[in-house]
């Protein structure tokens, strides 16, 4: 159901010819109101793509009437021409919706733009701009699935999630395999709701949700130039949910999509759930979890189904978190293979046949915790990313 699960939205996904292979590559999501409230979070990479610069500006106005997303090109590191192209794309969407569209007064300053694909290549505007007309003509209240498909790049499946309760709905779509900041392979997410909430409330709920979901997925530690997560509210249900209920629904949708991202990470054969407990602060727990998730040697060991807890300790030792090396405990799939920083239970008791592998690191230094999701490092990852742009 994706972005059209909530009332007040239409969407489309079409092939504009941006991708050489003819696959769908252009998605359009339109908010028909009555509200146009919106919020967004973006990559923290200091090298940001043109559409990120543009959409950050749009969000300052707190109103988004439509989102146009393309795969097949990131429009990052493309200089002034790249920004002009993003601007022209928003203008074209506004003009097309005003001329042929569903009614309403669209203007470019309320059109969010997101792009994904290779960095450093200008978009083929001669294909993208006509594609916007095709997409506008294809808009429908059940176009969410097609939109989710059109934003795929190296994704093997499209990703959608929906939560409904009390007469209102939160639904969304995502592409990519990674985390918000840093993130791999450009994560693009559009979430819609028909709840009637203002932009400040949306912003608060979105930031709270991404902080513990997309921000805690770490596929390969690389940070994209294009990561974008948008939350749009139409108010079409007429419902004004309590903040806690709404925030939890947004968190559930983000968590669902984030898990789908890691489950589809490039070349991965194992999903690794890293839970850090006994930390003095939540920041310590996140820093330790991230360090474990990014350790290439450990990622290789997990791939080889080797419960190599020494590599976990080695990764913990590189952090600034508060801990005593002689009090660290580590479990792999619930077997405490490391106790007090030294040899614990028999590592041969650990079975790692399943796709999901659970690592628990107890810092024994407090009561805070965090969960980070990562994945293993495989020859397929190397293959996929050494052939990507050729």
């Amino acid at each position: 159901m994706s972005v059209t699960a909530a009332q007040g939205f239409t969407a489309a996904g079409i092939a504009a010819g941006i991708k050489a292979n003819g696959n769908p590559d252009l998605a359009l999501v339109v908010n028909h109101g009555p509200s146009l409230a919106a919020a967004g979070v973006f990559t923290s990479n200091r090298v940001k793509a043109a559409p990120v610069h543009w959409t950050e500006q749009v969000l300052r106005g707190s109103a988004v009437s439509a989102v146009v997303l393309n795969s097949g090109g990131a429009n990052a590191c493309t200089g002034p021409k790249g920004f002009q192209d993003t601007h022209a794309t928003a203008e074209k969407v506004a003009a097309t919706l005003n001329e042929h569209g569903p009614g309403g007064d669209f203007n470019a300053g309320e059109i969010a733009v997101a792009s994904t694909g290779l960095i450093g290549v200008l978009l083929p505007m001669d294909k993208l701009l006509p594609g916007i007309e095709t997409a506008a003509a294809a808009l429908s209240a059940d176009g969410g699935e097609a939109a989710a498909i059109a934003i795929k790049t190296t994704d093997s499946v499209h990703k959608t999630a929906t939560v409904s309760q009390g007469g209102w709905t939160v639904g969304g779509m995502a592409k990519g395999a990674g985390m918000l900041a840093p993130g791999l392979a450009t994560m693009l997410v559009v979430i819609t709701t028909d709840a009637d909430l203002d932009s400040a409330t949306l912003d608060k709920a979105l930031r709270a949700a991404t902080r513990t979901t997309f921000d805690r997925v770490d596929s390969d530690g690389c940070m994209s130039t294009n990561d974008t997560v948008l939350l749009l509210a139409s108010g079409a249900s007429g419902q004004v949910p309590a903040y806690e209920d709404f925030a939890e629904a947004v968190r559930k949708v983000c968590d669902d999509l984030a898990r789908q991202l890691i489950g589809d990470a490039e070349g991965a054969s194992k999903d690794i759930r890293i839970e850090v407990i006994g930390a003095l602060t939540e920041d310590d727990a996140v820093e330790v979890g991230r360090s474990i998730a990014r350790n290439n040697l450990l990622k290789c060991a997990i791939h080889g189904e080797d419960p190599n807890w020494g590599r976990v300790l080695s990764a913990i030792g590189t952090t600034q978190a508060a801990f005593d090396p002689d009090r660290l405990n580590v479990a792999i799939n619930d077997v405490w293979v490391c106790r007090n920083g030294s040899v614990g239970d028999d590592r041969d008791l650990v079975s790692m046949k399943d796709r999901e592998v659970r690592i628990t690191a107890d810092l024994c230094n407090g009561s805070e915790s965090a969960v980070i999701w990562g994945n293993d490092l495989t020859a397929e990852y190397v293959h996929e990313n050494s052939a990507y742009s050729s």
Copy 2:
């Protein structure tokens, strides 16, 4: 010539049976003086192996009469028993040299110990201790080569380097593939000299040399628990070189060994020389270089001979260095494929057939620079590190 190129040293390398495959696994280096001056630098990982804790203590005394090194087990994360084993190893070396050795009054507090191999496994002391007697009996003034061979783990070749001038010599041996801090696969280095210099001078020269050599090699961003670099001076040449001459000789030996480490990095098919120029500070240049060197996506692209400069910019953008994204220039093998943060010269002009790939990143924000050496990410790396402990 290794550690016995300088006068006043004997060495040996033998098979004690620590490695299951019967390969050499125990090395002994003895300083016959007249001076026992020494200096050392160690991993900055907070989870340190027992021999690192021990040898840091030994170095407080500024005198090292012998170094015993074993492969086949890191003796890291082995608790109090691991430290007892290191202590017993040093005691055994001192007792053996006093009883059967070359004369002199050896005591355990002047015996440095270094170990490399799997973390979290106790050393087979029933093999190691008798091995020390075998090694002591094999000590000779041309045993440097055998010692270098005995410290190999995943190394495909042993690594030695020598610089001689004005009647004095600096020589050394290394094992591992990585950097001092962080480092991969435990880097162990022993450098000897017959120059007559005190420990403070050795320490100054060693720290200056490692800062721009071993510290700027980044094979996979992982930091070992065991990294150790020792510099021992016998004074046997009777020469007291000028500090600048000596420091440069130590730097050359370190640089030579560091390049050999990266050239033998696990599974690598490309050596990547990353030069960051135009930085406001040297720290900025090092931070940017390291970020580029560690980017898995870029490492894959280089493996695929793909001049994917977008991944270089993406890596630069994750740092805190001072730069303007719109003024970044990047060359790959001297072709400036990115100018002013955007598309530069034709990427098809870049040839990447050679093993060495040069990336130049100009931050256009100052006059400081740094060179970091890294390597590509390959399916062989994944294979080697997913099967390591099994």
